[in-house]
Amino acid sequence: MDVRYINPFINSLINTLKMMMDLDAVAATPFVKDNSKTSGDITGVIGFAEKKIMGSVALSFPEKAALMLFEGMTGEATDEINRDVEDCIGEVANIVAGGAKTEMAGQGLSFNISVPSVVVGQNHSIRHKAETPVIVIPFSVKDETFVMEVTMKLTD
């Protein structure tokens, strides 16, 4: 997959966490995913499509990282994943996908994004929209880690 189409998602995630939560996210080396399992306890997924492109992005967080983001977004602490945290993770995924959409539109690649869906539970599976290799980008924020998965299929 062309790195030009992964960078907008990385940029958008870093920008979202900085602006909405004043958190500095650091990306590690991406790798290709080799199964359908996610590494987190809660995952927000968004599909995107248009004539030239189809794909999806998923943000998967361990519980502690999800709770940290929830507190950063809302200013309120909670000690478990509940419906409010699910809504928060869905909204983070929505903002990240929206930011990537805007940057990619500037590169001449437009698409529409879906409503986010959120999956909760250990060792859950995610079915991505395109049957193409899934790129996993690990991130660290403070002492927590999480991953972003991106896959897309481009057509002429």
């Binding site: 979202t16 809504d87 930011g99 959409k101």
Partner: protein
Amino acid sequence: MKILVVDDSATMRRIIINHLKQAGYSDIVEASNGVEALSRMSGIELVLTDWNMPVMDGLSLVKEIRHNPNFSSVPIIMITTEGAKEEVLEALRNGVNDYIVKPFTKQIILEKIEAVVG
């Protein structure tokens, strides 16, 4: 000032309302879609609305407000992930007073409100 905050995400409503309350705005009404928003327009002096929502989206809400003589002059700020130039122009053409692309900071929201209701 009575402010209506419209977003299908409870998290986003909570963030915006927290910012407003910290800035001293206390008369705030919430809605999760355009239909709910229209039913809560009485006395509203400023609308902050998302674009992509179920039931009735933000652009349709803007059109409804602008075509209702009771509310047509109420200022509207759209707060959305739709950041492409064409979308911003479409919102402005349909009567949005100003436009905020998510993600945003508290400062951005408060500056836009000040500019619109001054």
